[in-house]
Structures are given as structure tokens and as C-alpha cells.
């Protein structure tokens, strides 16, 4: 797509999204698919669609809805897929999302994953979600190693720390030592512990294929039935990549004071890697939207000045890189972004979606309404503890405030894993009842 402008590239990607390489189950399904995708394309372009599209914040809800635990779903792919099929069938959504967010338990076991706890592994078996374990997986003096050669850092420093099975990778020589006639190069791979690590890797690969076969079938069926996937992949803000799973919150905040230059350098190194991998997943999935969950730049976490200095520049780099490729970043601002709105509006028009969790939507519409599509934000607490009537009424008010002229997607705040299914139905009803233009 060499000579095309970013906007032209986006149009190309939208066209491909509208006509996926799939055999629809019926002409009606195909028509409904096109209507749904068009609805999203229009709001991204800041035009009026036929009605406000709705994005149900259902997360792992299909498991709860079908009466199986996360633990069961992580180990029994048939039950996982049955649960998902039931949910997708019962809720006539504007979108579809596959069961891919439920990771295969046996894979995590094979590699001895330490970064996460899941039911039966560090969490009680009835817990409804898996959780990240924050720690200093990267030490304060390892910035240079990361900056100099990220792949080597990942393979030989980071991975041995977060995957118990890859502990022996510590002893592997960098691949860049391989040159000329290879005499000693493969010796390390003969060591019994290294061989065991590779066996674990192979096992994780085999099991992942089984899981993928099951999961992909559900996604394909949903697509054939006319429900479009709307997330073509994930990407993170470089500050969060470092702050969530490398340095940890406390440590990265000390780095802001003690070694700001290295932090900046590492973030720009990571920004380039993030961009490459996000573009690759968007290309592979043929869905032009990339979900970007944002964590540590929210109001209350850091000052406006710190946001402008540490958080926004490399996030913007990733966002602009995606826009240049014709991809639409969906920036999910967890927490509150009220004081960030004036800063984040400095992006090209109709090129991103801002998805808000607890931000004041009236202000968001006012500040961003002419620049970007906004999505949000039925409170998670209301969805979990309120009545369907209350949810529907809240949606009505949101549509009234945010829907004017298009550019709005009715969505939740964070996503829910359990609760009254009628509250989710109430959201869909509200979109259909109050959201027609």
C-alpha cells in the first residue's frame, strides 16, 4: 500500500472488513454483517449511522451465563466453546468476540507461567478471572540490556523470570554469536535442562494448536452468522508495558525520578516493537481496529505534566504509527481521563476511538466530539448490581448526551464477568430503542 495516504489505507482496510473471506450462512446473515460493520465504520468516520452501535462489556460473562467456571473453561475447550456459542446465540449483539480471552490452562502449566495467577493456580478455583502478578521482573539496572537488544533481553533475562520452564534459557548464548562455520554454536542446546525447556515449549505449542482449533471455529461460526469481530488485536502504551509487566508500578515511578532518560529511551524502543506487532496482528485478522487498554496514565496516577512527559509521547507514537497504516486504535482509558481530554485531542480527525471507563462523557463529547468517535460508559457497578430498568435509563441518558451527530458507541465501563444477563440485554434494547437516527 506504498503510495496511499493514511485515510486511503483506512478506506482499503474498511472495505476488506466489509467483505471478509467467508461463506455467510445465509443472504440475511451477509446483509446483517454489512449493516453492523457499516454502523461502526460510520461512527469512526464521525458520520451518523442508522443507529448507535452497541459494544457489550461481556468479558468472560459467557462462562457465568452458561454456568461453567473459568477453571473448567481453561481446561475443557468443548465446554468453553459450548458456553460461548450459547452466549453468542442468545444475545443478538452488534459485534462478536471469540473465546480467545480464555487462555488454555495446560499451556500456562507447561511453561510454568508466573506472571499470572488463575483458578487453581494461586487463586481459588471459583474465581471468575485470571490476574496479573506485579513484580520487578526487570531490575533497575537492566535498562541498557533492554535498549541494546530487546530480543536478547526477552529471551535470556525476562522469559526465564516469568516462565519457570524457561529458566535454562539464561544459559543460551545470544543468537548473534552464530557465525562462520558453526562448531560450538549448538552445544548449549544439548544440555539436559535446555532440552527440557524446549520440550516444554513444544508441548505448549501442541496444546495451543488444539485450543486454537476449538476457539477459531466459534469465531468463524459467529462471522458466518453475520456478527463482525471488531478487535483485530491488542497493543499497549509503552509506559504500561514497562510499568505493568517489566518494572512494576512502584519501580517505574521511581525510575521517573532516578533514571528518566533511560526510561524514555526504553519506551521509544518498545514503541517501535509494539507498533510492528500490532500492525502484524491487524493484517492477519483483517479487522482494522486495535484495542489499546491504557492503565497508568489515568487521572490520579500521575500529574498532567508527567502524563505529557512520560505517558503520552510514546503512546502517541504508537497511535500515529497505526493511523499511518490505516489502522484504527481503540484507546480504552481505564479509570478517569477528565484532565487528559485537552491533551489527547491532538490527533488526526476521525482516526481513533476513545473508549472511556469513568470519564465524564458530556465533557468528553464536548472536547473530543469533532475529532474522534467516543465510546462508553455504563458503570460496571450499575451493570452488576442495578436493575435492567436502571441500566436502560442510564443508556438512554448516555445516548442523549453523546449520540448527537453520530460518533458514539454505547459501551460499558470495564467489563463484567457475572451479573444479571437482562442488564446486558437492556443495553442492546436501549441502543435499538433510543439510538435510531
Amino acid at each position: 500500500m506504498g503510495e496511499l495516504t493514511p485515510a486511503e489505507k483506512r478506506e482499503e482496510r474498511f472495505k476488506r472488513w466489509l467483505s471478509p473471506d467467508v461463506k455467510f450462512s445465509s443472504p440475511q446473515a451477509e446483509k446483517a454483517y454489512k449493516e453492523r460493520v457499516t454502523r461502526f465504520i460510520k461512527v469512526i468516520q464521525l458520520k451518523e449511522p442508522d443507529r448507535v452501535p452497541c459494544l457489550l462489556p461481556a468479558g468472560l460473562f459467557p462462562l457465568y451465563y452458561s454456568g461453567i467456571t473459568l477453571q473448567t473453561a481453561m481446561y475443557d475447550y468443548d465446554k468453553l466453546c459450548q458456553a460461548w456459542r450459547k452466549f453468542l446465540r442468545d444475545f443478538e449483539m452488534d459485534t462478536s468476540f471469540g473465546p480467545g480471552m480464555v487462555p488454555p490452562g495446560r499451556v500456562l502449566e507447561a511453561i510454568g507461567y508466573k506472571l499470572y495467577k488463575w483458578p487453581g493456580h494461586g487463586l481459588s478455583s471459583d474465581v471468575t478471572t485470571y490476574q496479573c502478578v506485579e513484580a520487578e521482573y526487570m531490575k533497575a539496572d537492566e535498562y541498557d540490556a533492554l535498549i541494546k537488544d530487546p530480543s536478547n533481553f526477552w529471551l535470556r533475562i525476562y522469559m526465564p523470570r516469568v516462565f519457570g520452564a524457561f529458566e535454562p534459557f539464561r544459559n543460551l548464548p545470544p543468537f548473534t554469536t552464530i557465525e562462520e562455520i558453526v562448531i560450538m554454536s549448538f552445544l548449549p542446546y544439548g544440555m539436559p535442562d535446555v532440552q527440557a525447556a524446549f520440550q516444554a515449549l513444544l508441548e505448549a505449542g501442541r496444546e495451543s494448536m488444539k485450543w486454537m482449533a476449538a476457539v477459531a471455529e466459534v469465531s468463524r461460526e459467529a462471522l458466518e452468522a453475520g456478527f463482525p469481530p471488531i478487535m483485530g488485536g491488542f497493543a499497549k502504551a509503552p509506559f504500561d508495558t514497562l510499568g505493568d509487566t517489566l518494572r512494576g508500578t512502584q519501580a517505574i515511578m521511581m525510575d521517573m525520578y532516578r533514571q528518566p532518560d533511560k526510561l524514555h529511551e526504553a519506551m521509544s524502543r518498545i514503541a517501535a516493537l509494539t507498533l510492528d506487532s500490532a500492525v502484524a496482528t491487524a493484517n492477519a485478522s483483517n479487522v482494522p481496529l486495535i484495542m489499546m487498554p491504557l492503565h497508568k496514565g489515568a487521572d490520579g496516577f500521575m500529574s498532567i505534566k508527567q502524563f505529557e512527559t512520560f505517558y503520552w509521547p510514546t503512546l502517541k507514537k504508537v497511535v500515529m504509527g497505526l493511523i499511518d497504516e490505516g489502522i484504527v486504535p481503540v484507546l480504552f482509558a481505564e479509570g478517569i481521563y477528565n484532565s487528559r481530554l485537552e491533551i489527547i485531542k491532538e490527533l488526526p480527525r476521525a482516526a481513533v476511538v476513545w473508549y472511556f471507563d469513568q470519564t465524564d462523557m458530556a465533557r468528553a463529547k464536548k472536547v473530543l466530539g469533532d475529532i474522534a468517535c467516543i465510546a462508553g460508559n455504563v458503570p460496571t457497578s450499575l451493570l452488576m448490581t442495578g436493575t435492567p430498568q436502571e441500566v436502560k435509563e442510564h443508556c438512554r441518558r448516555l445516548i442523549e448526551v453523546c449520540g448527537k451527530g453520530g460518533g458514539y458507541i454505547l459501551a460499558g465501563g470495564a467489563s463484567i464477568d457475572e451479573g444479571n444477563p437482562d442488564n446486558l440485554r437492556a443495553m442492546m434494547e436501549a441502543a435499538k430503542e433510543y439510538g435510531v437516527y
Binding site: L123, S303, P379, S381, T385, A414
Partner: protein, 210 residues
Amino acid sequence: MPKDFVKTLADLKEEEVIKLTKERLEAGEDAKVILEDSRKAMEIVGNRFADGEYFLPELVYSGELLKQITELVKPHLKQSAETKRLGKVVIGTVAGDIHDIGLNIVDFMLSVNGFEVYNLGVDVPAEKFVEKIKVTKAPILGLSGFLTLAFDSMKETVEALEAAGVRAKIKIMIGGGQIDDEVRKYAKADAYGKDAMAAVSLAKKWIAAK
């Protein structure tokens, strides 16, 4: 010098404040006075946080500086420094949830504001909260939760306190990621606080009313 010390620490000048600490110790100053000055500086940090001048990076960094100073001062302490405390507060992240960033900020803010804090950490079962309330006789309990599953854990914790017959003797505040007043009603807690400053003002209000 003490005033400079307080200001230097509150302004988070790491090298300078460590140097000052060493100088004061070498000059034979009472270790307890240095700790008292550090406490004053932390109070300023807390106020700046409450005023929106400082944010999490400053709290984290000041905590680290305090740790370093305490380490330097400790060998010079003749007896453990006794400080007058406003009252006891038990806090923890409820069962099933392992998040603690917010919890630790609340711990820090309550501590610098003079409360004796019992931090039970993460994934705390209801019975453990009940037991700690009974043992410490703390009049205030703070429940933290980041995930939506915390809604039910909070409710169950409050119910366990009721069943143990201690609910009426204590005030319960809740807070964290997706927690709001809806959840407060659902869990039957006494108050919801939107941030660490809210935790401090609630605790102060409740202690004053005792």
C-alpha cells in the same frame, strides 16, 4: 538545619536528604528527632498529594526515601520511637483479588496522617478480617478491591462481621477500581471513598465521633 531537612525531604531531593541525614547523625543528633522531622516531611508530602500537587510517583518516591533514612537512623535509636496514634484501622484487599497498588497508597496516607494501620495484604478471606478486628479492637475497617468480583467479596466480608457480632462496633469504608456508591449499597458498607484522601477524611471523621 532541621527545617531544611524537612523541606529537602518533602521536595524529594534524594542525594541531599541522605547527605543531610548522615551529617546529622555524625554530629550526634538524636535519632528520634531525625525521625520526627521525617514524619513532618511526610505530612507535607501527604498534603501536597491531597492538594493535587503530588501524585503516585511522589508518594512512592517519598516512601523509598523514608525507608532509606529509617535504615540509616535505626542503629542509632536507643529505644523504639513511640508516636501517639490517632486510632487503629484494619485494611486489606478482599478475597479473590490480588491487587494492592491502591491498598498500599491508602496504607501510606493513613500512616502519615497518624493512624495505626494493620494492612492484611491481598486476597484476604472474610474470617481473617473478622479475626483482626476482634484482636486489635480497631473501630475502622477499609476494604479494597480492583476487580468486579470484589463486589461480592466485600458483601460477604460485611456479612461475616455481622455474623460474628462485631459489625455494629465498627465503621467500614470501601474503595478501588470499579467501586462506587452503588457497590457501597450492595455490600452494605458505611462509606465509599474515591481515593486515599477520602480514606483519611473518613477515618478522621469516624475517630472524632467516637
